[in-house]
Symmetry: C2
Subunit: 334 residues, 2 copies
Amino acid sequence: MKSKITLKELAKLLNVSVSTVSKALNDSPEISPKTAERVKELARLHNYKPNPVAVNLKKSKTGTIGVVIPNISNSFFARVLSGMEAEAQKHDQQVITYISNESLEREKQICDMLTSGFVDGVLIAVSEETQKKQEYDHLFSLVDYDIPVVVYDRINIDLPADKIGVDDENSFFDAANFFRSRGVEKIGLASAIHHVGIGKLRIRGYEKALEDTHHYLAKSSKPADLRKKIKSLFTKDKVEALLCTDFESTIMATRIAYEEKIKVPEDLKIIGYISKEVAEFLTPSLSYIEQHPQEVGSRAVDLLNNRLEGVYEPGKFREEIITTSLVHLESTRF
Amino acid sequence: MKSKITLKELAKLLNVSVSTVSKALNDSPEISPKTAERVKELARLHNYKPNPVAVNLKKSKTGTIGVVIPNISNSFFARVLSGMEAEAQKHDQQVITYISNESLEREKQICDMLTSGFVDGVLIAVSEETQKKQEYDHLFSLVDYDIPVVVYDRINIDLPADKIGVDDENSFFDAANFFRSRGVEKIGLASAIHHVGIGKLRIRGYEKALEDTHHYLAKSSKPADLRKKIKSLFTKDKVEALLCTDFESTIMATRIAYEEKIKVPEDLKIIGYISKEVAEFLTPSLSYIEQHPQEVGSRAVDLLNNRLEGVYEPGKFREEIITTSLVHLESTRF
DNA sequence: CTGAAAGCGCTTACAG
DNA sequence: CTGAAAGCGCTTACAG
């Protein structure tokens, strides 16, 4: 039960002033080596640690960064968070997590909190609802309060902030071209997120790669509807390859193939946007787009810190893109 | 660019003292309704929000709780975190997230940080390595520093702290008995986590239910080895049902069944410890143990807050258990 | 009902 | 080299 010792108590025990103790512990050159050593020794003995709240108040900062996550069950975001936490550690920053659950209302509440000064900066991926309704006032209010914001992953939003994203469009451009190069003709796409930014980009990549051929699209945010459409791609259109923009459509596609006794990869190749963890264990294992979430996370923290430290010119914002890679497992075996 | 206004500035604008402003904003009965209204109006106009760092310093608390998570990619923990965040919100607390990556070393670093006073309390699920090596000194040092600790999920550890767990043993006791009641004779178990606490408990539940019959066990923390053992259960022992204690063994089992052309559920029933999200999408969909992670999370925060508020008697600790439920999907269809 | 003062635990110009 | 003082932005006994 060593209740925390303070500078003042330390000072009294040493018969010196609080300022001296503080300076000694902060390695100020003003202090004589002798007293410095005396102070440090006693501090060590008592296991002294400065009260971070007091230090932060003095320094007018919080030592903390706020992360807004739309959906933590999505393992992409979970890994991004992990990358952020690791990077923040290196800078002795604490990560405060807020989960919006893809809700605009919740996101507003969170931003409102954040304007009170709980954090030095904010990393945010905006919720689906926010994107759909295009209501960004709460985000602008962060900016108004001079709280630096870094937008990650879902970056196609018009906000004066640094951004770190993933090359969604290119990933599917490349994936579609991969199939073409192998002579596949009927290449389909399934999407449950066609209405949100990243979904649109992935679809655009697919369409650009296949400008000159027929597009086979199954798009719907309603599971039953999507299922019907994917099934139709398989049984009526008889696509030979399928790109899936998200977890739901990917898993649904493998599922429907199984039910319809379509052999993967013999009769149907699939590439999906799912995590390595799940991809490797599916039956058959599923080729996927690796988004390097940890890197997205650590870069996001980096951008924020550079911004906080004034490395970047005020008013001019960065936009960085992490390059994805296509990982081939069994579902694209030729 | 409304840089934050302070109490002092507000006071000057109103020609009253700082104390008056503070009291007015905190609805102190000492203040006349008239001035209270004046103060509040100006505060609203300037969008005044008290600086939380200053408030916390004054109140000698941080308004923050630290959550240590072994592995955020595990969707169980991701959901637990979500439950914690939701509950913390209700109490205006911020959640600071630390990820140990199942590493003892990292966990020590984190605990060391935490003793500096970044948080009012800690919620922790200890890392696998910590459990294996049984090194708990860093956790005891939290307790020594009078930082309340709540241990969640991995609770079979001897620490003076409140605990919130899941009825691991019972879940598999019930699951095994479910199969028996349906006349299944050869019931196997696969585990990649047999060496850690929750794994042991689940296995014990299985063994208790089947005390009088033969046990078919496939246990290994090495993937290749586990795979061989599961395969042997299927092809040599010809088990008719399998309980899997974790994500890895569950997915591996479905995978091996597929490769060996064993029909699920016709020739083999499976129950696994995986998340609803994955279970529902597997082929066939997989019956699973629902652990109610969000509830674990929110109860953990509750326990901590009751402890902080002195609701519980000092020195006497709570241990709560969340009851799991067995969710039947296709893999246990009779 | 209002305000001056002390203090939460630090840091840092400034004086000596 | 050391210390007294001011101050970060609040809250809250205490006096008037």
